[in-house]
């Protein structure tokens, strides 16, 4: 449970993680919110806790903030044990989901609040507040009240208020949930840029996979109080370990394939609906028994749809059942015997949008580059083979 990462203090002092959770566990009554959870956030990076509601990400954040005490485990912020410190003493900045700006205070008073609580001299407080409002591009709004600001401006004030005290860590709780799409994208970049400039360790809680992908250095995917996978955005996106991760982060075609044989570091599998044929190979860390079922994930952007004449004769076939034009991509729905859900395939629009030769009803061949089909670790109960 209290498994420590190999690089402890022994090697280098500066490698101290900005945040380290060790075996954090939390239950509310009989409901387990968080199973023993451990992870490190390297100093100065942004880590996203990603998962559906009720997955334990908010509980984790609240434990880091000090609003909840864990039943077991440790919270280390910059190497210091803060597990039982009250929120006041943790020196954290936090942007709440609805910004939680103090409605009875002006923008400047909101930003200055933390400095005032720290007992800073008035002149210094004012100077720092002004500088911070400059940084978030709101110098002319200092005397307004929160309700007089737009959502994006409130967001910036909340950010300024949380950063002005120069906290040791920044916590973001679904910070962009209330903004419309364009503003959200803009704020994603702004927050990310500011975070990098200041170099502050940041924990971002979100259920929005796009937000997690664009903003963070590291993603921790959570489900039902457990970490499903942790790693860099590309790592988690390209090498999802489980069905949950591959479907929660992006879209995936999940195929239950029969294992035909194992060969060293790879498995030979057969698509559902194929009675014969030599199947295809995927890389596998561990062997699986022949005849068992293994789950394979293929991203829609990796699934190439070709006309039957272009493809090799043994390539699997499918029938186009739907086509949507999304501007930058074509989305195809493909039907195949043996599958209960249609497959999805994206094709980038590379030139002028002419007519696609693939109208509904057309028979097509499916191919993918080796390495883009990922074997998932999920255990599948032995069913009737496809």
């Amino acid at each position: 449970m209290t498994q420590t990462t190999p690089k402890a203090q022994s090697s280098a002092e500066q490698a101290e993680p900005g945040l380290r959770l060790l075996g954090i566990r939390k239950a509310f009554g009989s409901v387990v919110a968080l199973r023993p959870t451990s992870f490190d956030v390297p100093a100065g990076t942004m880590c996203a806790l990603l998962g559906p509601s009720g997955c334990g990400k908010t509980t984790t954040l609240r434990i880091v903030a000090g609003f909840e005490l864990p039943d077991a485990g440790q919270v280390l912020i910059r190497g210091e044990d803060r597990t039982y410190d009250p929120p006041q003493r943790r020196k954290l900045g936090m942007v709440f989901q609805n910004y939680s700006l103090f409605p009875h205070m002006t923008v400047a008073q909101n930003v200055a609040f933390g400095l005032r609580m720290a007992g800073m001299a008035r002149a210094e407080t004012e100077a720092r507040t002004r500088r911070m409002l400059d940084i978030v591009h709101l110098p002319q709004h200092a005397d307004r009240y929160p309700h007089q600001l737009s959502g994006g401006q409130q967001q910036r004030v909340a950010l300024a208020r949380s950063l002005v005290t120069e906290p040791s860590m920044l916590l973001l709780d679904e910070p962009l949930g209330a903004l419309d799409k364009n503003l959200r994208e803009q704020m994603q970049f702004e927050i990310r840029q500011l975070q990098r400039e200041i170099g502050i360790t940041t924990l971002l809680v979100t259920h929005d996979q796009e937000e997690a992908l664009t903003m963070s250095d590291m993603i921790v995917v959570m489900n039902r109080g457990e970490i499903m996978q942790a790693g860099s955005p590309t790592e988690v996106y390209e090498r999802p370990r489980t069905r949950f991760v591959s479907e929660f982060l992006g879209t995936s075609n999940i195929l239950a394939c029969a294992v035909l044989g194992a060969d060293g570091g790879s498995l030979r599998l057969r698509l559902p609906g194929d009675d014969q044929g030599s199947g295809f190979t995927v890389a596998a860390a561990a062997s699986r028994p022949v005849g068992s079922t293994a789950l394979v994930a293929i991203r829609p952007e990796h699934l190439q749809v070709k006309s039957v004449s272009e493809a090799q004769p043994e390539a699997p076939r499918a029938t186009v059942s739907g086509h949507v034009f999304r501007g930058a991509t074509h989305v195809f729905q493909l039907q195949r015997p043996g599958l209960d859900k249609p497959l999805l395939a994206y094709r980038q629009v590379t030139g002028p949008v002419g007519e696609t030769a693939l109208s509904p009803g057309a028979e097509v061949a499916l191919t993918w580059l080796p390495g883009t089909a990922r074997l998932l670790e999920d255990e599948i109960a032995p069913e009737v083979g496809a």
Partner: protein
């Protein structure tokens, strides 16, 4: 009549909506509220002279505001109501805070306990205090039994009994007004303040209290107006030691039968209520932008 002003006013008519459904209420109010008010107003402005003829005159009001005794009564009325209001705030705020933030599943039970006394008649409750505060009542017996006092204290027929009686009757209104506003305050605001380094007490003083002023204002106005108009408590617990406007009205109306003068005093009480309401509307309009 004047006490009713506190409960029926303060609502805004829904403009633009169909007016037909509210017609019965409008007629009712016209017949039983506005007409008597007008009648009351007229009565206070016509003084019957020595020749037996009623003539338009401000004499009652002049009398009311030039006589030191009556001015004292008006002052006392306001003072007693203010005192009761302040005590209700001091008692009511902690109760409301506990109810909203800590009672959890006992919240419903607390609301019931608060409201239950309102279901018994005010006369019953006042007589209850009589039993407790009387010369050989419960409180004096207990204090004597404990040896804390030698002779029974004079608790009844005393301003303190009036204040106790008023606070008892009116504190639920304060609690409910404050609780309603406290419930609407996002606890994340308090968390934000704590994370920014504010202690529990500072958080309360800087965030929770300012944001709940609205509830205090509403409760204070309601309690003040009800205390202003309360009559039975003054009569039964004060026993003449606290003479307020309602008590004077009662005397003028029933004992002296000077209806015109009683009407004038009633109107003064009504104006007091209207002023309180105006202050409340002002307060809420200022804070309303915040919500």
């Amino acid at each position: 009549m004047t006490a009713a002003a506190g409960t029926t006013s303060g609502r805004r008519s829904p403009l633009g909506a169909g007016l037909w459904p509210v017609l019965p209420a409008v007629i009712f109010l016209l017949l039983f509220f506005l007409l008597p008010l007008a009648e009351n107003g007229l009565q206070s402005l016509y003084v019957t002279g020595s020749d037996g003829k009623a003539a338009f005159s401000l004499a009652y009001y002049v009398h009311l505001f030039s006589d030191a005794y009556y001015l004292g009564v008006i002052g006392k009325t306001i003072w007693v109501s203010l005192l009761a209001t302040v005590i209700c705030i001091l008692i009511g705020y902690p109760v409301a805070y506990f109810m909203v933030r800590h009672a959890g599943r006992w919240n419903g039970a607390m609301i019931f306990l608060l409201v239950a006394p309102l279901l018994t008649s005010i006369i019953m409750r006042t007589f209850g205090w009589n039993v407790i505060l009387a010369r050989n009542g419960v409180l004096n017996n207990v204090l004597q039994g404990l040896g804390l006092i030698e002779r029974p204290l004079r608790l009844l027929q005393d301003p303190s009994a009036v204040i106790i009686g008023l606070v008892h009757v009116l504190v639920p209104f304060m609690v409910i007004s404050i609780a309603a506003v406290l419930k609407g305050i996002d606890t994340r605001l308090e968390e934000a303040a704590e994370l920014l380094g504010a202690s529990r007490w500072r958080t309360f003083r800087e965030i929770t209290l300012p944001l709940s002023l609205d509830g205090i204002a509403t409760g204070a106005i309601v309690v003040f107006m009800l205390a202003n108009g309360s009559f039975l408590t003054m009569l039964l617990l004060g026993g003449g030691s606290v003479v307020t406007l309602p008590l004077l009205i009662y005397q003028q109306f029933l004992l002296v039968q000077n209806l015109g003068f009683a009407a004038a005093m009633g109107n003064v009480l009504l104006v007091l209520a209207v002023i309180s309401l105006f202050i409340q509307l002002r307060l809420i309009r200022q804070d309303g932008a915040v919500a």
